[in-house]
Amino acid sequence: MMDDAILSVENIKKYFPVQGGLLLRVIGYVKAVDDVSFDIKNGEIFGIAGESGCGKTTLGRTILRLIEPTSGKIYFKGKNILDLKGRELQEIRRDMQIVFQDPYSSLHPRKMVADIVGEPLIVHEKAKKSEIRGRLVELMKLVGLSEEHLYRFPHEFSGGQRQRIAIARALVLNPKFLVLDEPTSALDVSVQAKILNLLWELKENLELTYLFVTHDLAVMEHISDRIAIMYLGKIVEIGAKRNIFSSPLHPYTEALLSAIPIPDPELKKERIILRGEVPSPYNPPMGCRFSSRCPNATEKCIEQEPELAEFRPDHFVACHEYN
């Protein structure tokens, strides 16, 4: 584990049992997250990229113990948070918060914004509503909203505004670490730009660390410091942003990068179009998970799973081509 790592994930697995047959015995597992390890440095924006079904959302929620991992360790500021229970676990929640993808379902539809954003304070500090008003107004201003918005209901806001409210809720307890699960994917382009600017500002001013999950590689390239690419529950490549984008190693990374539509008609792209469908995390192919779609797959790839290994300084890849 790195010395300056605020979060360290070790061999995390999350398997969802699948029941079948007359007696509903467990007949298999959906291996949503399958042995994932990485460190996040204090103050950095660590990105996790991948398509749907790759496990990035499950991973984000598992790190926060919204989903309990099947096995593995999660160290936050040196302590394994999987050992924590009850009051201690609740305390940790002050430091680790999450912003969800869908601003239309992450805010309680029946509560006023003031109640939504203020609830963490009531839960943790047993504060009374009258005491926290000042803090709530301050938070609204921090995310670019105004005091009167506190007294409205979520359905009265646009997607971008709701996301700001969700961010305010995540910040109210002064956390150190934020998981951002596709925070701008549901937003329009011009709104996305504002939210990304806001997230950067907040990170700098409040000294936060982000785990930024998204499938949008253009956003990923802009916002993150280091990136991990996930495919079917496994990390296939990790490295600094510059390296991943300028010299990707894993064939899936290459295909993913080439698939991003670029708003520039002059750039004629060499599109790598992958054949086949994304396999499901239930019964993944043996050997390398990507072998069924990989243009360079060999016999070894189909039989043996490649390990994640450092090919260049601080640039890891899980592919037999590089081992």
């Binding site: 329009d188 730009a193 990304l196 600017n197 950067w200 993913l256 539509p261 086949g276």
Partner: protein, 327 residues
């Protein structure tokens, strides 16, 4: 290339409790034959409403208030419902964002495609079924005979969208309207589907109206594009010109916001938020957010001017093809 669809001054309103939502405020569009035309804009700009208005699928509490939709020489707004039904699905077809929900969950794929074929060619279902595998092969479906026997829920999003493309194109429409056809699909599948659409368009010589908020998709696939904002087309032209020399301040702002190469925290944004269409701003609907706003913008609605061949813009900054300010 001749004119296939010409929309002039299309106005559509929605009568709701909060008031009248003036969704389309005089939309102008021209699509030629064998053209891949993009209609771009953000949420609420009216692109989907435009498509539904063209198909005359607007229902209570919505109403098409006025304008002309000339398709192959006939004004669709003047047709009877029966005549319109002969055009819908046969000459103009539409596919939507969520392919799985557009398919009937209780019927197998082969039945649904056969139904579309028999409608299109006036065949009996038994005859139509023979053509199903052909259609599936045309949409590059892996393992067509297996897929034909499956139910919609067994298909992935990409496969379902292929089935829908097959169904709609089996009628050989002249115009295919695709409303966010790949938004719910993964990026790698999106690439497959867009390539398929491009190939089929060239083979069948049809026109496509691609509606999307994703400017990257437009840049890669379309030859011309119209940008919409709050119920109006603000700019229209060929893709190269629009992306390289955008004229309307909104288009400029939109393209700038997409530029992810800017430093973190310094992404370019457009001031303000999308207007409330129950009480839209007077004059140009973009004027409260426009960095180059002038007095006239809050008073009169800008007329559409052609500033160079095939490139038109609705903005008072332009007069006789010249930009008025220093910008």
């Amino acid at each position: 290339m001749t004119e296939l669809l010409k929309v002039r001054d299309l106005r559509t309103n929605f009568y709701t409790y909060r008031g009248v939502v003036k969704a389309l405020n005089g939309v102008d569009l021209t699509i030629d034959t064998e053209e891949f035309f993009g209609l771009a804009g953000e949420t609420g700009c009216g692109k989907s409403v435009t498509a539904l208005s063209i198909m005359r699928l607007i229902e209570e509490p919505g109403k098409i208030e006025g304008g002309k939709i000339i398709f192959n020489g006939r004004d669709l707004l003047k047709l009877s419902e029966d005549e319109m039904r002969r055009i819908r699905g046969k000459e103009i077809s539409m596919i939507f964002q969520e392919p799985k929900t557009a398919l009937n969950p209780v019927f197998k794929v082969n039945f649904q495609i056969a139904e579309a074929i028999s409608e299109a060619y006036n065949l009996k279902t038994k005859e139509a079924v023979k053509k199903v595998e052909g259609v599936l092969k045309d949409v590059e479906m892996a393992d067509p005979s297996k897929v034909a026997e499956q139910y919609p829920h067994e298909l992935s999003g990409g496969m379902a969208q292929r089935v829908l493309i097959g169904m709609t194109l089996s009628a050989k429409p002249k115009l295919l309207i695709a409303d966010e056809p790949t938004s719910s699909l993964d990026v790698s599948i999106q690439a497959q589907i867009m390539k398929l659409m491009n190939d089929l368009v060239k083979k069948l010589k049809i026109s496509v109206l691609l509606i999307t908020h994703d400017l990257g998709l437009i840049a890669e696939n379309c030859n011309r594009v119209a940008i919409m904002y709050a119920g109006n087309v603000v700019e229209c032209g060929d893709v190269r010109t629009i992306f390289k020399k955008p004229a309307h301040p909104y288009t400029i702002g939109l393209l700038a916001a997409l530029d992810m190469s800017k430093e973190r925290g310094n992404l370019l944004t457009i001031e303000g938020i999308v207007p409330d269409l129950v009480n839209p701003p007077p004059g140009c609907r973009f004027h409260p957010r426009c960095p180059s706003v002038m007095k006239i913008c809050s008073v009169e609605k800008p007329r559409t001017l052609e500033i160079s061949s095939g490139h038109s813009v609705a903005c008072f900054l332009y007069d006789n093809g010249r930009r008025l300010d220093d910008g």
